[in-house]
């Protein structure tokens, strides 16, 4: 029986890849094998336990049951239909026929998955919570008391003490990082739910693909890359700038001092950012500098900056020029290279007309329409255009919507998603919008909605909120990303 389901599943997959080789499909079908929740011929069935299963692995294992336990019949039915239809490409009538089945499956999967995600994340959040929110206390003191309060709530649900959980996670990271040949996949799994502040700089470098997995080559590579960057600065920045690049420079020069926080009022910091962005822009002529990119440097910069400071230093009051020139150069080079790697995956966001963003905004719209017709209808009724609010979410990867400490936590997950983070970000945006569902439904006119959407109140958000956000995004992704017919892109 199970084997049959597996075959059917493969058939569906094959059918899809044979028939829909278009852009839409390759988008949704990306990384299909890694998606939990998909029927697999694996016989072994693990019981879903609500007890603290902490690793990403356990999570994956547990959600693969979602199909087997409840949705068996549904899978057979949909598979049969898929088979019947597979001779012809899915015409719209066909699509409509399948529609109710899809709904049924997605609801079931969604439900069981939600339970799993919640159970799993309860556990991981406790863990995260226990880790004291370093970045939180570094960056903004006011909300740490709240975090503390929240973590006290969870205290009686787990058996070990703060420091133990804290140390456990940190130890896992340290063991991984110190191994001779790092298993990048393991590091990604571990990082997905948040990286401890102590190991974040090195973890980010590895996740970004900036450093090699072999530990003995790491320092050598780091040194070489830093020299490479110094040469780029000499080549592009210190020389007379071409007329073409003067516009780019001017734009960057206008934007950097406008970065609000005291840290960015320091000339030293401003110059570092200007060099990073200017050189990136010159080396990526198809996109060049786009306003908002400066915000994308910040998480890298702040994380690497902390490497040169005692943990707990308030960076807002820090005089960056007090750090040695050598360390500042390293900090700048690392920020540059990691930014470059990071942006590689989303370059189409910043090309002419920002087509990548326009495309994703459309996908967001279709996703919300599919997941939450009520909210979508409400937004439509009041004339809200998704582009009006979600453009900035996509362009700045939510950095404008979240406090910096939360952006950093979110980037743990983005970096752990590596190549797929562009796709994942769409689901994060969807989860983010759905988070405000109730408040949005209470707004009764266009202006109220727009103003709310542009000023979502996240000032008091902590790592917990981000963990819940990415968990929800993950749930949405495996429910919808693997079901292209759930989302038919209108052309």
């Amino acid at each position: 029986m199970r084997l049959d389901i597996g075959k059917m599943g493969d058939h569906v997959q094959k059918y899809a890849s044979d028939n829909d080789m278009n852009l839409k499909n390759s988008f949704w079908k990306k990384n299909i094998r890694n998606l939990p929740g998909r029927a697999s011929p694996k016989k072994e069935s693990k019981s879903v336990s609500s007890s603290a299963s902490t690793s990403f692995d356990d999570f994956q294992e547990s959600v693969s049951d979602a199909w087997e336990i409840e949705a068996e019949d549904e899978i057979l039915r949909i598979s049969a239909r898929e088979c019947a239809n597979s001779a012809h490409p899915p015409a719209s009538s066909c699509y409509r026929n399948r529609f109710p089945y899809d709904v049924k499956i997605s609801k079931r999967v969604a439900h069981s998955a939600a339970v799993n995600v919640i159970n799993n994340h309860k556990a991981s959040i406790e863990e995260i919570h226990k880790s004291k929110n370093y970045s939180n206390s570094d960056l903004q003191g006011e909300s740490s008391s709240q975090t503390y309060k929240e973590s006290r709530h969870t205290e009686n649900r787990i058996n070990f003490s703060n420091s133990e959980v804290d140390t456990n996670k940190l130890t896992k990271f340290q063991v991984l990082l110190e191994s001779n040949l790092l298993q990048l996949e393991d590091l990604k799994k571990l990082s997905w739910s948040g990286v401890p502040v102590e190991v974040r700089p090195m973890t980010w470098r590895l996740l970004a693909g900036y450093l090699p997995t072999s530990s003995e080559r790491r320092q050598q590579a780091l040194d070489r890359k830093r020299i490479d960057y110094a040469n780029l600065v000499k080549q592009y920045y210190d020389t007379d700038k071409d007329e073409v690049y003067k516009d780019t420079y001017r734009q960057i020069h206008i934007d950097i001092p406008r970065m609000s926080t005291p840290l960015f009022q320091q000339t030293t910091v401003q110059e570092m950012f200007e060099r990073i962005l200017f050189i990136w822009a010159i080396r990526h002529p198809a996109s060049g500098y786009v306003q908002g990119m400066n915000d994308l440097v910040t998480p890298f910069y702040v994380v690497f900056l902390q490497e040169y400071l005692p943990i707990g230093t308030n960076i807002e009051k820090l005089d960056v020029s007090s750090i040695s020139k050598k360390n500042r150069d390293s900090l700048e080079a690392d920020s540059f290279w990691c930014l470059s790697k990071f942006l590689d995956g989303i370059q189409d966001n910043y090309i002419f007309a920002q087509l990548g963003i326009q495309y994703k905004v459309n996908q967001l719209k279709e996703l919300i329409q599919r997941i939450d017709g009520t909210l979508h209808g409400h937004l439509m009724k009041h004339g809200i255009d998704y582009l009006q609010f979600s453009f900035r979410w996509m362009n700045n990867l939510l950095t404008r919507e979240l406090p910096l400490r939360c952006s950093i936590r979110l980037w743990d997950t983005y970096l752990a998603e590596s190549d797929c983070f562009a796709t994942f970000q769409l689901y994060v945006c969807a989860a983010f919008l759905l988070h405000w569902r109730q408040e949005l439904l209470e707004e009764k006119d266009f202006q109220g909605l727009m103003i709310m959407l542009q000023n979502l109140q996240t000032q008091n958000w902590t790592d917990t909120d981000i963990s819940l956000l990415v968990a929800e995004a993950y749930r949405l992704k495996f429910t919808f990303a693997d079901a292209p017919n759930h989302l038919t892109t209108k052309r």
Binding site: H382, G383, F391
Partner: protein, 223 residues
């Protein structure tokens, strides 16, 4: 915040355009919230705010769209010109280049906005007297030649910010009233306006966010 359901007679959509860093967002913040922020972040895409004022005993609700100045965003921002009945074209009096680019912004408007859009040229940062790079009379002459109204403002010290918005909203109101007269009573037109001007009203139901919505027509005013 000034959202909500307060009554208004007219809803006018106005866009703020101009080069990066000329102070568009601060003009908007000053007008809608009486705030000013020396280091306000660059605008990404578009941002929105609203404020109601009284003109000729009518309540006018201004729906103002602040746009990003960088050229790269032009494709996105120009979509917001649609349905706009007014535009504040802003430059920085201390930066010659931002004034030179006014021509380019005008042609943007010609390409993407309604041909009857009311345009006001705004020389912002008038507090920077010692750094002035664009003489006021030069801008005045340019505005006259191009049929634009002109004003110098300072979002920092508030000079003329209210006046700028009041003027453009009054001007839009004048045009709209003239149009309503036109549709209502042809003989009345000449007294109000030399030529009838057509500006399409959008209904509340369109997807265009009621960009230009007339809630109450003159003919109902006696009620």
């Amino acid at each position: 915040m000034g959202t909500g359901d307060e009554e208004y007679d007219y809803l006018f959509k106005v866009v703020l355009i101009g080069d990066s860093g000329v102070g568009k967002s601060n003009l908007l913040a000053r007008f809608t919230r009486n705030e000013f922020n020396l280091e306000s972040k660059s605008t990404i895409g578009v941002e929105f705010a609203t404020r109601s004022i009284k003109v000729n005993k009518k309540i006018i609700k201004a729906q103002i769209w602040d746009t990003a100045g960088q050229e790269r965003y032009r494709a996105i921002t120009s979509a917001y010109y649609r349905g706009a009945v007014g535009a504040l074209l802003v430059y920085d009096i201390a930066k010659q280049l931002t004034y030179q680019n006014v021509e380019r912004w005008l042609s943007e408007l010609r390409d993407h906005a309604d041909q009857n859009i009311v345009i006001m040229l705004v020389g912002n940062k008038s507090d920077l007297r010692h750094l002035r790079a664009v003489p006021a009379d030069e801008a005045t002459a340019f505005a006259e030649a191009n049929n634009l109204s002109f004003i110098e403002t300072s979002a920092l010290d508030s000079t003329n910010v209210e006046t700028a918005f009041e003027n453009i909203l009054t001007e839009i109101h004048r045009k709209v009233s003239a149009r309503q007269m036109d549709s209502m009573d042809g003989d009345e037109i000449d007294k109000v306006c030399m030529k009838p001007i057509r500006i399409d009203a959008t209904t509340a139901n369109t997807n265009d966010s009621a960009a230009f919505q007339i809630k109450q027509f003159c003919c109902n005013a006696s009620a």
